[in-house]
């Protein structure tokens, strides 16, 4: 029997539906495109991520690997069909535990968990871990997902919403959680206007090559598609996150500078595009010499004419006299080399574009809507007011969705054709074309006196910034500021350079180079402590920054919580030592972090608009994109307490460049601090205005009651006259100053701190590392929402563990999630988080940033524990089994 031609009947969630899809079509694509069931997510189309998991006759399978023909006549269940009591109970547990951060993996997680819970109502953690082993999550570190699965049977009540004035510190469920757990959240690939053209990108297969197009018009006509190249770009074909250094074309012109660079767009109707083969596209390539490593980059001809030696920028901080190192009682010198690391969010870039009158609207996943708008406007030659960015939900970002990806491309197609269009990056598109963590080649010398007090440090790092500038300058500037770690370092010289190569563009990735530098510094600290004869934790504590201490940039700090973090780890450290002594191959390690919140010495204001409509609705225009970290919830909690309202009184608007004021980008761990501060100011301003209008005292309560706003004070009560509504707008910009040629100044107004303790086991014969337990103490200033905060810690640790042990993006070889490995549920240790609250003098209610801090200590603490277990100094990351074993042998020969 041949199954093509006729429409078939497929039974989904108990309902028989007619489907017109070739039986050889991926079930995931048919569900999403033909049946509109978009709760099933696609992260890889290769079985590697499990986001597309559905139940076929009750068994979890990847819909992306299942032919439609095999689903016919069988029972098929998707996330949309989860409605039975036990399934609802599981969904509530996901909400209660904060198991969904960005939410892109959530449908796959739920389906996998449901399959388990049908057989085992009260699973063990090991069973839960095993059941979700085939679904990757890049946000949560899996802990809260496993918590939720194991607790689902309890069918507990949702977390109660706190009364007015008590939102801060409450572990409320995330406000945008329901859609993520129902599968109704709209990510980049989940919305498009009817009849939208589909767009795909033709990319360079060469590291560095000149190219010329052949008869593109004929090729396009023969296939009933349209092709767009650089010459179609009406504006300035150049974008970049740091405008003075912008250097990246939206579509390459005559020369492609890295493998994967976009050179042309092909757009056509969906049916045509499905069968389109880009093989044979008329383009002729003439490869040029290329440089991939930093050393090759330094020696090669400039990739950008104005940057000799391929040096993009040098960052430098110095204080005291680093020559003092020569007189130090103890010295250590060493180096570390780190790999390209891929963000590997489970949602590849996707979005749609359409015209609304003469305004170009782009709905796509992003971390920086206003920057997207401005970059896209420049490329398309439009005034900013004619571009509107509506961020879709983002299925993870971690820094890479700060740069524009497909926004100018789909914008171009819609602008030139007048038709709506959409584009969904394949996993390969995403991996070859978007930014990576900078590979770092670092060396340092650190010295201390006989008593173990730090005398000085010299640090030198080269960072492979790839073909275009992106966030290379930020990395080069952040690294020297942070390379000393959160310690008092009287004499210091640190230099970091961003070097161009024809490798992938390195950009922002959680920590902007600081995690790499911390690996170098924190591993050397262990050696220095040993030389000084001090316990590794005590050595750090002995040198930890204290209130009033001055950093290498000359800034006096206040609200410094690093010593508190280390002290909190002390009892665990003692236990860990005992644990390690019990068996061969066990080791323990510790490492600290500090991290400045917000842009380095540059303005980065956030503006919050808050008001009460004429109908009595409290409305918060919240322009900070929530990429899973929880800005929607945290910003509202802050605003609620400042105003004196309940979180449940709020309606949230945005983010949307057409509706919400600019809250800047979601990066640099700035949203809780900067946007939170603006929300606090807006809450206070609205409160003052309401009390002024009602002439009520400071301690009056503002009550939102069914369309009326009533102000109460003791027995007094007055109904607020709303008129057309009452609005306030407040802006906050962190007070920073520029850094001079020695790096002196105030780069950040607020720093956050943390320290982590790792217990692990090394397989002494195979070099395999299994991390057993991590205790993480982080000074968040004020934990606005403890569940969201610990969720950040657990997720950051998972990324730090990946950085340390398995993640290595090899250009040209690991362009998929099969060969590029990130931690699965089975690779994560038990994690205990300790939230330290040492209030910051300027942060909202004392809060500091956390989002990036969390992954900084993990990798160095793991390396320190490996060394403790085996004597091995792994100096090239990741610490793959063969590298660990080789380092163990080298240590034995020393």
């Amino acid at each position: 029997m041949s199954l093509d031609a006729a429409p078939s009947i497929i039974t989904v969630n108990g309902t028989a539906l007619e489907i017109r899809a070739n039986p050889g079509r991926r079930l995931s694509d048919a569900l999403r495109e033909e049946l509109g069931l978009r709760g099933t997510k696609v992260g890889c189309d290769a079985g590697d991520c499990g986001a597309c998991t559905v139940l076929l006759d009750g068994a979890p399978v990847c819909a992306c690997l299942t032919p439609v023909g095999q689903a016919l006549g069988r029972s098929l269940q998707t996330v949309e069909g989860l409605g039975a009591a036990a399934e609802l109970s599981l969904k509530r547990a996901f909400a209660r535990f904060g198991a969904a951060q960005c939410g892109i993996c959530t449908p796959g997680m739920l389906m996998s968990a449901v399959a388990l819970l049908r057989h085992v109502a009260k699973p063990t953690r090991a069973q839960a871990e095993d059941a979700i082993g085939g679904v990757l999550c890049r946000c949560t570190g899996y802990t809260k997902i496993i918590d939720a699965i194991c607790d689902a049977w309890r069918d507990a009540e949702p977390v109660a919403m706190p009364p007015a004035g008590q939102s801060i510190g409450a572990a409320i469920e995330r406000l945008d959680g329901v859609a993520k757990i129902d599968g109704t959240e709209v990510f980049g690939a989940d919305y498009w206007p009817q009849d939208a053209l589909r767009v795909v990108v033709l990319r360079s297969p060469h590291w560095h090559a000149d190219f010329e197009f052949g008869d593109v018009a004929a090729w396009a006509e023969a296939r009933a598609v349209q092709v767009f190249t650089a010459k179609d770009i009406p504006g300035k074909n150049c974008f970049g996150v740091i405008p003075p250094l912008a250097d990246q074309p939206a579509l390459a012109e005559a020369v492609a500078r890295f493998r994967g660079e976009a050179v042309a767009l092909v757009a056509g109707d969906a049916a045509v595009m499905r069968d389109l083969d880009l093989e044979g596209f008329p383009v002729v390539w003439t490869p040029r010499a290329h440089a991939l490593s930093v050393d090759e980059g330094k020696a090669a001809a400039p990739i950008h004419a104005a940057r000799p030696g391929n040096l993009l920028i040098t960052g430098r901080v110095t204080c005291g006299d680093v020559a003092a190192l020569d007189g130090a009682a103890h010295h250590v010198t060493g180096g570390v080399e780190t790999a390209y690391v891929e963000h590997a969010y489970i949602e590849p870039e996707a979005g749609a574009a359409w015209m609304d009158g003469d305004v170009l609207v782009i709905q796509a996943c992003t971390q920086a809507p206003v920057m997207d708008r401005d970059d896209t406007a420049v490329v398309l030659g439009l005034p900013s007011a004619r571009v509107r960015i509506v961020p879709s939900a983002a299925g993870g970002g971690f820094g890479s969705k700060l740069d524009v990806s497909l926004q100018p491309l789909i914008g171009l197609v819609t602008l030139l054709t007048g038709r709506p269009c959409r584009m969904v990056y394949s996993r390969r598109d995403s991996m070859v074309s978007t930014t990576k963590r900078h590979p770092g080649q670092m060396t340092a010398t650190i010295g201390c006196d006989a008593a173990g007090k730090l005398v000085g440090m010299r640090f030198d790092g080269d960072f492979n910034t790839g073909a275009y500038a992106s966030w290379g300058p930020t990395v080069a500037n952040r690294v020297p500021v942070h390379a000393s770690g959160p310690y008092l370092m009287p004499n210091y010289l640190a230099e970091a350079r961003a070097i161009h190569t024809n490798g992938p563009v390195s950009g922002a990735f959680r920590g902007f180079g600081v995690p790499q530098a911390a690996i170098c510094q924190e591993t050397l600290f262990d050696e220095l402590a040993q030389k000084a004869g001090l316990d590794r934790l005590e050595f750090r504590l002995h040198n930890a920054l204290r209130d009033g201490d001055v950093t290498p940039t000359g800034q006096a700090l206040h609200g410094v919580g690093i010593a508190d973090c280390l002290e909190a780890l002390r009892p665990h450290w003692a236990d860990a030592q005992e644990w390690a002594a019990q068996a061969d191959g066990r080791g323990i390690g510790i490492a600290s972090c500090w991290y400045g919140c917000g842009n380095t010495s540059l303005p980065n204001p956030s503006t919050i608009r808050l008001g009460i409509t004429g109908a009595g609705q409290l409305v918060l225009h919240q322009g900070a994109t929530d990429i899973g970290q929880g800005a929607n919830t945290v910003v509202t909690q802050i605003c609620a307490d400042a105003l004196g309202a309940r979180v449940s009184d709020f309606e949230l608007i945005g983010p949307d460049t057409g509706l919400t004021p600019d809250c800047g980008k979601t990066s640099a761990s700035r949203q809780t601090y900067v946007t939170g501060k603006a929300a606090e100011l807006a809450g206070l301003a609205l409160r003052a205005e309401v009390l002024r209008r009602t002439n009520m005292g400071e301690d009056a309560a503002i009550c939102f009651e069914d369309g009326a706003v009533v102000i109460r004070r003791g027995a007094q009560s007055e109904r607020l006259d709303l008129g057309d509504g009452i609005w306030v707008e407040e802006t906050y910009d962190p007070p920073t100053t520029a850094l001079d040629e020695n790096g002196q100044g105030t780069p950040y107004a607020v720093y956050g701190y943390g320290a982590q303790l790792v217990k692990l086991e090394v397989d002494l014969a195979l070099g395999k590392v299994r991390v057993d337990h991590i205790v993480a103490a982080h000074d968040v200033g004020r934990a606005i929402n403890p569940v969201l905060a610990t969720g950040q810690i657990e997720g950051g640790i998972a990324q730090g563990l990946g950085l340390a042990l398995m993640e290595e993006y090899v250009p040209g070889r690991t362009e998929n999630l099969h060969d590029y490995l990130i931690p699965t549920s089975g690779d994560m240790p038990r994690i205990d988080s300790i939230l330290i609250e040492k209030p910051d003098p300027v942060g909202p209610f004392g809060a500091k940033g956390l989002g990036e801090h969390v992954l900084i200590p993990t990798a160095p603490a793991i390396l320190n524990a490996i060394r403790h277990a085996t004597g091995a100094r792994v100096t090239r990351l990741p610490a793959l089994p063969h590298r660990v074993l080789a380092a163990m042998k080298a240590a034995r020969h020393d």
């Binding site: 079985g47 990847c62 095993d130 082993g133 195979l766 042990l805 490995l821 931690p823 549920s825 089994p881």
Partner: protein, 274 residues
């Protein structure tokens, strides 16, 4: 472009004789190999053919249908000698992959890292091939000829894997080394089957995968083990090394693979007799 999903093997063989459709089983190797949203060309989906799925105990041999899924194997009631195969099934990709992927697909795809191959090699498995013209069998070790290369002829299908009863004696174990817990391609994997008499090894069947283009048996090492104590034995590392031709790749270097193989082999043998 057509898609056929026949119920009967004879129909499948007729289609194969008439054209050269791509054989599709679980699709877990075929779909990742394309960036398109559907499989191109003529497709012969064999998962509707009941005769190709399941495990039967026939005269003198155990027959595993080619379209038997990994999860079927995990659930099957089989002699101890099949423990290695079941353990390997449990480690293929993830539950999702095990619920779709088949043993036949694993063999025909012939990846050096195919986890099903070493456990079948220690069971002296043979491959049954059928076509409209008839059928033949080949030892598995001869069927797979190289990295992604087999002796499958046009018009043929693998219908079953056959394990002679003689090879189902004793107990077996399997260990896989990868850089993470789930969804991981083996750096090396080892299957071992032993027969013992009062703590002394009477016979051994050993196989290592991912350390050469095709997984290998280790006859010289097997012979060297005979007569040794199961609790305390010596593996001649040089003999292991001679049987392998490991490569450098992103997962590990060749030197490490060779060394890890010996260690894994030791552990696997110890694992046979708990």
């Amino acid at each position: 472009m057509s898609y056929h999903r026949p119920d009967a093997l004879t129909d499948a063989l007729a289609l194969l004789a008439a054209g050269s459709p791509t054989i599709l089983a679980g699709g877990t190797d075929l779909y990742p190999a394309t960036s398109a949203q559907e499989l191109r060309g003529d497709i012969l989906d064999i998962t509707g053919i009941a005769a190709l799925r399941g495990i039967t105990d026939a005269a003198g041999e155990i027959r595993i249908g080619a379209a038997t899924r990994w999860s079927d194997l995990v659930a099957a009631d089989l002699p101890d000698a099949f423990d290695a195969l079941k353990l390997s099934a449990r480690e293929v990709g993830s539950v999702q992959i095990q619920n779709a992927g088949t043993l036949g697909g694993n063999i025909c795809n012939a990846s050096p890292a195919a986890d099903g191959v070493p456990p079948l090699l220690i069971l002296d498995a043979a491959v049954e091939l059928v076509s409209a013209a008839g059928h033949r069998r080949l030892p598995l070790a001869e069927f797979i000829t190289g990295n992604r290369a087999t002796r499958l002829k046009p018009g043929e299908i693998v219908s079953a894997v056959l394990v002679p009863k003689a090879a189902t004696a004793g107990r077996s174990h399997f260990l896989k080394l990868g850089a993470r817990k789930y969804l991981v391609i083996s750096i090396a994997m080892v299957a071992a089957r032993l027969e013992e008499d009062a703590g002394v090894i009477r016979s051994a069947a050993l196989s290592i995968g991912s350390c050469s283009a095709v997984a290998v048996r280790l006859p010289a090492v097997e012979r060297a083990l005979i007569g040794q104590s199961v609790a305390d034995f010596d593996i001649p590392a040089d003999l292991v090394g001679q049987a392998l031709s490991p490569i450098d790749d992103i997962r590990a270097d060749a030197h490490y693979r060779a060394e890890a193989a010996v260690e894994l082999l030791t552990r696997t043998i110890k694992g046979v007799v708990p």
